[in-house]
């Protein structure tokens, strides 16, 4: 009974404040993928982008993402790279941010655009994201996505992920619901950009007693482009129970296109 009352009150409050009604709306997802630099057989940085919207509207508020799974071509493997040489522990990451982790645990970085439902128009906020090598999850690679936002909602969050290897390689990440204001809907993510690789990363090592910075080796592209190009896909689950998928292909370089 009390629960029913609370839900009714929340619904009324939401309607009074004029938040966009997105319950039951269909979420849309657009995925982009690319390599920088793009040279077969060489180390690269993987660039991924997600855009989330609501079907039929250009500025609708999508339901919060609760999980995303990024499918990565199987022939991009970590073994030949020197990314994520150390392990970052979630407790250190939460306590001190990315500075609490060894620099050579960093796998990449990015940003997310989130919408905070305050007032009739949701406020857009930018959060920074850092990807760190986490403790292994069973026999798989643990990846921690650390997101930090400032205003109007200040939050530091860890999205724990697992990089599954093999023929169906994927990065699977749980996203916790992020509360905004008391009684208001949770924060929604509308876009995310993630760069995984040496671009913009500096590791340090000791050479003859001196600390020297260097760029780690990124994931190596295979010497041959797979037929049809490098295929990426994303599967997202939303708090309203719906799911959405998207795919993107990085075409083979013009000189080797099949």
């Amino acid at each position: 009974m009390r629960c029913r009352w609370t839900l009714a009150a929340l619904l009324l409050a939401t309607m009074a404040l004029g938040w966009p009604a997105t319950a039951g709306a269909t979420q849309t997802v657009k995925l982009s993928a690319g390599f920088s630099p793009y040279r077969l057989g060489k180390s690269t940085t993987l660039k991924l982008g997600l855009e989330i919207g609501v079907a039929g509207t250009s500025d609708g508020l999508p339901s919060p993402v609760t999980r995303f799974e990024m499918h990565i071509p199987a022939n991009l493997e970590l073994i030949g790279s020197s990314l994520g040489l150390s392990i970052c522990h979630p407790t250190a990451l939460l306590a001190n941010g990315s500075e609490g982790c060894p620099t050579d645990a960093r796998l990449g970085f990015g940003s997310a655009q989130i919408k905070v439902p305050v007032g009739p128009e949701p406020v857009t906020e930018l959060a920074s994201i850092e990807a760190e090598m986490g403790p292994p999850v069973g026999e798989e690679i643990g990846v921690l996505l650390y997101a930090e936002a400032g205003s109007p909602v200040a939050a530091q969050l860890i999205f724990p992920g697992v990089l599954f290897g093999g023929a169906s390689q994927s990065l699977s990440t749980s996203v916790p619901l992020i509360p905004s204001l008391p009684g208001a809907p949770d924060i929604s993510m509308v876009s995310m950009k993630l760069s995984l690789g040496p671009e913009g990363l500096t590791y340090f090592k000791t050479v003859h007693g001196r600390t020297v910075g260097y760029h780690p080796e990124g994931v190596a592209l295979p010497g041959r482009c797979p037929r049809g190009g490098f295929r990426f896909a994303a599967d997202l689950a939303f708090a309203d129970g719906t799911t959405a998928s998207a795919s993107s292909t990085v075409p083979c370089p013009a000189s080797v296109r099949h």
Partner: protein, 177 residues
């Protein structure tokens, strides 16, 4: 990924270079009775005179190898180094991939008496800088006194350090000569 395995010891650049150096080495056959590692060439046929006198021989081995990366790290890791244990010599391993579900490598080991080559299928996992792998190995051929070497389901395990790309491996089992 396992399908990317390719035979070694076929005159490829890395292995061809190693072969010359290897010919100067001897495989040390150490009596198993005096060492924990077992090394013996034993007849698999009963030790009596009779119609089954044509005895296929079995080489039991248990070796550890230390390897260094040749060239740059990348999609394929070419490693070369030495192995010691029940036998010794030099070895080249080409890792094509090591993932939690599948992976592969090919290898060629050389001695003054000849060489053996083969392939492995592996499963591995990454813990920070280390990549641990285990798998099974097949001996698919050889040269010299090992020209007819063959064997399956031999044990193969090891670690690749992604800071230096040094690798250590352990190989154990027996194969037919």
């Amino acid at each position: 990924m396992g399908s990317k395995m390719k035979g070694m010891g076929d005159g490829g650049g890395l292995l061809h270079g190693l072969q010359g150096a290897m010919r100067r080495r001897m495989w040390l056959m150490i009596p198993a009775a005096t060492l924990g590692v077992i090394a013996a060439v034993v007849p698999s046929a009963p030790a009596h005179n009779g119609p089954s006198a044509v005895a296929a021989k079995t080489l039991v081995f248990n070796v550890n190898s230390n390897l260094r990366l040749v060239g740059r790290p990348g999609h394929v890791l070419n490693e070369k180094g030495t192995f010691t244990g029940s036998q010794s010599g030099t070895i080249a391993i080409r890792f094509t991939s090591v993932t939690s579900t599948s992976g592969g490598a090919t290898f060629a080991a050389y001695s003054s008496g000849g060489s053996i080559s083969g392939s492995t299928t592996t499963k591995g996992h990454v813990v920070g800088a280390k990549v641990y792998f285990t798998g099974v190995m097949s001996v698919t051929g050889g040269t010299g006194r090992y020209a007819h070497a063959s064997g399956r389901n031999l044990q193969f395990s090891g670690v690749v350090d992604r800071r230096t790309f040094h690798a250590t491996t352990h190989m154990q089992g027996s194969f037919h000569l």
